[in-house]
Symmetry: D2
Subunit: 483 residues, 4 copies
Amino acid sequence: MEFDLVIRGGTVATASDTFAADVGIAGGVVTALARGLPDGRETIDATGRLVLPGGIEAHCHIEQESSTGAMTSDDYASGSRSALFGGNTTIIPFAAQHRGESVVATLEKYHERARKSVLDYSFHLIVSDPTETVMRKELPKVFADGITSFKVFLTYDKLVVSDEQLLDILVTARENGAITMTHAENNALIKWMVKRLLAAGHTAPRFHAVSHPAAAEAEAISRAVRLATFVNAPLLVVHVSTDEGATIIADARRGGHPVFGETCPQYLFLTREDLDRPDGAKFMCSPPLRDAKLQADLWRHLQAGSLVLWSSDHAPYRYDETGKLSAGPDAPFPRIANGMPGIELRLPLLMSEGVNRGRITLNQFVALTATNAAKLYGLHPRKGTIAVGSDADIAIWNPGETRRVAQAGLHDAMDYTPFEGMELTGWPETVIARGRIAMRGGEMRAAHGDGRFLKRAPFDWTGYSAARPPELDPAIAFGAALL
Amino acid sequence: MEFDLVIRGGTVATASDTFAADVGIAGGVVTALARGLPDGRETIDATGRLVLPGGIEAHCHIEQESSTGAMTSDDYASGSRSALFGGNTTIIPFAAQHRGESVVATLEKYHERARKSVLDYSFHLIVSDPTETVMRKELPKVFADGITSFKVFLTYDKLVVSDEQLLDILVTARENGAITMTHAENNALIKWMVKRLLAAGHTAPRFHAVSHPAAAEAEAISRAVRLATFVNAPLLVVHVSTDEGATIIADARRGGHPVFGETCPQYLFLTREDLDRPDGAKFMCSPPLRDAKLQADLWRHLQAGSLVLWSSDHAPYRYDETGKLSAGPDAPFPRIANGMPGIELRLPLLMSEGVNRGRITLNQFVALTATNAAKLYGLHPRKGTIAVGSDADIAIWNPGETRRVAQAGLHDAMDYTPFEGMELTGWPETVIARGRIAMRGGEMRAAHGDGRFLKRAPFDWTGYSAARPPELDPAIAFGAALL
Amino acid sequence: MEFDLVIRGGTVATASDTFAADVGIAGGVVTALARGLPDGRETIDATGRLVLPGGIEAHCHIEQESSTGAMTSDDYASGSRSALFGGNTTIIPFAAQHRGESVVATLEKYHERARKSVLDYSFHLIVSDPTETVMRKELPKVFADGITSFKVFLTYDKLVVSDEQLLDILVTARENGAITMTHAENNALIKWMVKRLLAAGHTAPRFHAVSHPAAAEAEAISRAVRLATFVNAPLLVVHVSTDEGATIIADARRGGHPVFGETCPQYLFLTREDLDRPDGAKFMCSPPLRDAKLQADLWRHLQAGSLVLWSSDHAPYRYDETGKLSAGPDAPFPRIANGMPGIELRLPLLMSEGVNRGRITLNQFVALTATNAAKLYGLHPRKGTIAVGSDADIAIWNPGETRRVAQAGLHDAMDYTPFEGMELTGWPETVIARGRIAMRGGEMRAAHGDGRFLKRAPFDWTGYSAARPPELDPAIAFGAALL
Amino acid sequence: MEFDLVIRGGTVATASDTFAADVGIAGGVVTALARGLPDGRETIDATGRLVLPGGIEAHCHIEQESSTGAMTSDDYASGSRSALFGGNTTIIPFAAQHRGESVVATLEKYHERARKSVLDYSFHLIVSDPTETVMRKELPKVFADGITSFKVFLTYDKLVVSDEQLLDILVTARENGAITMTHAENNALIKWMVKRLLAAGHTAPRFHAVSHPAAAEAEAISRAVRLATFVNAPLLVVHVSTDEGATIIADARRGGHPVFGETCPQYLFLTREDLDRPDGAKFMCSPPLRDAKLQADLWRHLQAGSLVLWSSDHAPYRYDETGKLSAGPDAPFPRIANGMPGIELRLPLLMSEGVNRGRITLNQFVALTATNAAKLYGLHPRKGTIAVGSDADIAIWNPGETRRVAQAGLHDAMDYTPFEGMELTGWPETVIARGRIAMRGGEMRAAHGDGRFLKRAPFDWTGYSAARPPELDPAIAFGAALL
């Protein structure tokens, strides 16, 4: 039993267990969890530390053009670096198809961009133009190549898919073993509000929240879940920001359908009132920030398992003319890029305010930040856990360290963080990626290009109501009882 | 106290009361309900009979082109005559805007067509092309002229409105005192099913039901109710054919919103299995016939008040080359005109199977067939009840008469009835329209042209959660708490 | 057509209609509703007035000992007088069995007490000791004698019935055509809270509300509705004071069960904060006053028909040593008699704040205050409406009159009203009972003893899911599918 | 790194992960999970085998008198042996207080009985007589001694606790770190049905199911959950047998309360129709067997996490005069002992029909059969998982072995199994208890008395809505907002 690296004396946690053990690593994978392992070629003392699976950041925008045209400030170099410092070892950014573009071309472009990544990566494909060619020829190939999740938008004029397209996509995904993700807000309702608000001269950032009411999200989630349930296709609703939305998702799951929900730190740590600040544009995202009641609701849904993913939705548009202010400092809210950064703070926020305050267990932390994403997105058991045979993707945390958040201390290419000034307890000290120390004591040791593309497995139906999807054409299958 | 007509010795019923009284009529209106009235110029002996408000048929297609182009077999002459023989005294057919057409022109056309009507009438306007001109200029005028309800479709490619248009329409209606009606089925889901069914060679009428699943109705009702609730506008969902749909509507009403539902005889007396008959095309309507469970569900919703209107959705396309078979006897189901006749049997069906079997009270019968429509559509108290001052629109029923339904005995211009052969107990013997005997003993006494256009009052908000709609622009109003 | 009395020129309203008509009365009943009636022996000018069915006060405690032993201040003389001045023409107080007492004896006692009544009356029997003799021998006789409703308590140690007794009672009632009423609060939960509050020294009136949480009502309503549904017996929950309770009731009704709910003015016009006044004991009732949210909820439920009765729960214990203060001015809350007066203000409160503020229609007012009670309690159509053949029980209201409530102006035997100082618009001016002017211009013309006992009809199942109850023994019936 | 025992080459599963690893055991605990471990003093080849945490049987009746007086056929010798052969390593039978008995005495008796156990054990205390002494003096001591769960019955005359007692118990448990378990059926409803069924001569076993309707369970679960929620105390509902019950539990959990549910194999593999067999008495249990719909519902709830425990409710009354037939072969159903055996088949049934048929994952199997019980009952991480430092309680399964169930092959003291004849795939071959081979190849190697009493930790609130229970007296705490 020889090890390249041994982590000694820490407290290891998985999604189900917490135990004291040394971790032995060889060939980039965990080969032993044991008491009293011999030293490796390198040995880290983790006494008093938590040894956790590296985070999987499954919702982030890196080197991607926004729907308003702005390019994210973070490319794969800075974005993956920031993720690393935040305790992550895998990222799954979006590869966004432009209308008229082949998704194969889209992916080639993103593969090229991602060569700079410090961390292992995959992509969620964003499909905005589901042409016949895309649907019949390209997507099956994309799925076969290991891109087994993709996102569709129910809002944004340049991205929105129709209900008919959504049905086609859900079924195509299902037939190819992929899972469909959706940004669910009712596009019409938002546009209708925006038009009226602008007509009334309500252009400040705070009206962004007014224009994106909870009703818009609840309607779109309801619709997407009904359609996915109808064709018995897996669905994952990203950045859920309403109690009603989370409840609809959980009810569908209880009804026997593979329907899942994700939420993000901003909805639990910020509120709509932040939009009233002079720099309110920094706090614009979609769905928008809401209120304190939502924060309590979302903690409850995380605890009860109604929402299974905790992602950052890192969307790094700087608060300057390259990003948020590209249309000028007094631009009306629809001309301000949506989104905010968070890739580096996603885990510390949950560790500090979730685990350390007793709201969630350490095992729930692991599940929400790594294991569940690995399982839903076809990376498990290679990623998302600390187990014999898994990639040695590990973050060693000092649970007692307290730091005040400051943009100056972060590693992305941004000029602000919406969480500036928060005092958080519990930070990653060392991050190991495929067995190599990638970050330690605030110093990056990994190199750009160390990251590898991850070919992901198909969506696994086991444990959901139907062990596998019906094999017939769904229109026939679902009408079968009637035929 | 002198009377043109006295109805002596009958049992009078309103939506709340049942009592023995003579009815005295003068000048076309009821002027006395009393014991021992003197004879009028004419006196009818109603001993052993029920004296009920004439029915208001609030959902029927008369002299209207279908979405597949076929013209209804009934024009205002035959349609109103058939309604009369079925115990009705008022009809509110649809006036359907074609795309590109001014709704003012639409109404002029229908006013012209309706001159032949035996019975008083109004129109629901169908809006399929809500242009700026229609919305801003024409509709306010239409509403001011007493057309205070109109229908939008969430399905049919030639009629469907988008969510954004629906919001505009709901708000325009609300601001002008009108109520929006909707045919709620998800267009995309139906089209998606139709395409796949046809591709699989499933073209027979029975696949019409397969192609219009309950999920399509439930989704569209859910969406329409959410949008109407968001802008606080009254909404009436026509021909509800799912338990889930009725429940959504009733929940919204309980939540304080003026949201209402209607259903039709076909959903309580026929099932999807009727589509399997050799002449299955006769039984095609949208939403489609479903099953026995739905029948029980709908009785329950009628009893509990979740559904408040009982209409025929009379859509008279003959079972010949002018109607159902216009695309040939073996045409695939999407090329067969939807709908079935029922204007003459709507009331006898409910009297026989509802009242006489003890499922509903006589007062519920009156409410479902006349009073509720009068109230929701701005005709009350002139129409829809027997009360001093109301129009003397009265049907005298023989509750004990049993007849077997036969098309030969009906008075429309159809060549079939879907209810052929049913044995019903309780039939109208005499119908009085604005004080004149319009039908008696199977003989029509009224003349074509006796009917008058009814200018209807605005939707009355009293008794709903908000006594009246907010006065602000709704986008502002609903965001008010956030502004 | 000769009349003892004619009411000329008013606006008549029933539960469904509102119309201008003269009302002709002869032999104590309405014999004509008409335009231009000739004068009667007496004629009242009702120009500008509302002519409404006299109220039926279906929940009041008159000449009854409380569960703490105190006698109500009102006997049948003062109680019926006060009801009369409040626009009522019928009262249905409770006849309360004491444990160990024959219910036949109970009723004899109350029949004797009620001889003084100014108004027609019946009783709801309170059963607190359902012995074999009471259940098998006495109750069937009581029901046959026209007492077709009775109440059981799920709280108060001296009154509470067990679940097993409740099932027996529900079935006995059903088999005999009666309806069971229930005061639904979980006795155990209340006692448990009281014990702990007293142990902590929390004895002031305000802790009465703390000791009777909403959870206690919701649990008991849930349980009672489940049991009634199980044996398919009609149930009426009195004085509902929670949104959850009203929702449970309405859901059961929608599910096809004859389950109904009542509420009372105090829950819409007072709040728990009134208990904080120096004379807080005046505001103690069970269930207790709650908060502003409940007020909005209850308006919503009244509008949507989830709650169908509006009663006073008049429980007149004076604020002196004969009533509230019998255990001394500083008695702990459990020793203070529960209840408050309201029999004279029940209708003016709803007229002013419901009808005049546009929350409910005049027809809903009539339904909630008279017609629904008449129907549910077997008095319709004799009572509860203005229709030909019905008793001429009529209240003539001046809808524009504004008065400030003052105990000095009321006619009960109380020394306070909880509504002191409220300014209400809309008051009854004249009340006619069985055709005779019983009150006019603030002067009582009726005499004690004018009231007659009303023999009530069995509960009418028509219009509920089952037209009539199953005929088998329910244990067998409900297990029938399994046998 | 030296090991007493090494399990080589198997596939290890925990509640979250599945991986290939050798398991190294020393001193009775797992000390290594690794690839390529050296041999131990003993080494087991587990190639092609599943290496799972030994089952924790958390609901079984061993050496316990039934409520009808019958003694279980299994004592701690046979009961633990049978559990062992079924893949279990820990049992938590009940220690049942008789009325009038000190619970300290109860436990002494059961400690004595359990000395014969092959497996480690704890007890759930059944409290049927919550006197002041029991509540204030004995229970805190019992909890401090590591018995941190106990059960109360809401049914059975000799066991039932009142709502007030339940509140006291819930709060006492909460204050002492214990969790309350409940058998939730409405006692009154069952008694009422039994009485009527017997009176009608319906005495056969099949009427047991009729007498215990789903409504009885749903009501009692609803009530127990409401009361537990009110006092914010953890609650676990055992043997849930209704969709409605499971839904109520899951809704409470989603609402932020630590409320949990368990179900048992009989409800997923048998139906009420089994009671119709000539030996129907064998299939009597409470709640009773129901139908195929329930089976589908419960699979769904297990998949969605609405129900978190899978227990046998092993209640071994022989089908002879010592057990089921003690009152004679034709005894009416209430005189037949309730319950059926299942301790040895609990795991094989779920492995075969759950895991092997793809309904649940192997990780869900581990969670449902071991980990969740360990967590809820204060045994984790010592028991319920395979992790470094945990007791080496391991079952090695042959996932491909198929056997037909036969009582002759089981190891309890019963004369029948209700699952006789079922063909199951996946059986435990070897069981290791605290590091020692307790069963291998169908041979028991452990000795009676090898089992040790397990002192359990308090209920852990982390991860539920409130990180810890309020510290105030609950009556005050829950009324706090009102005080």
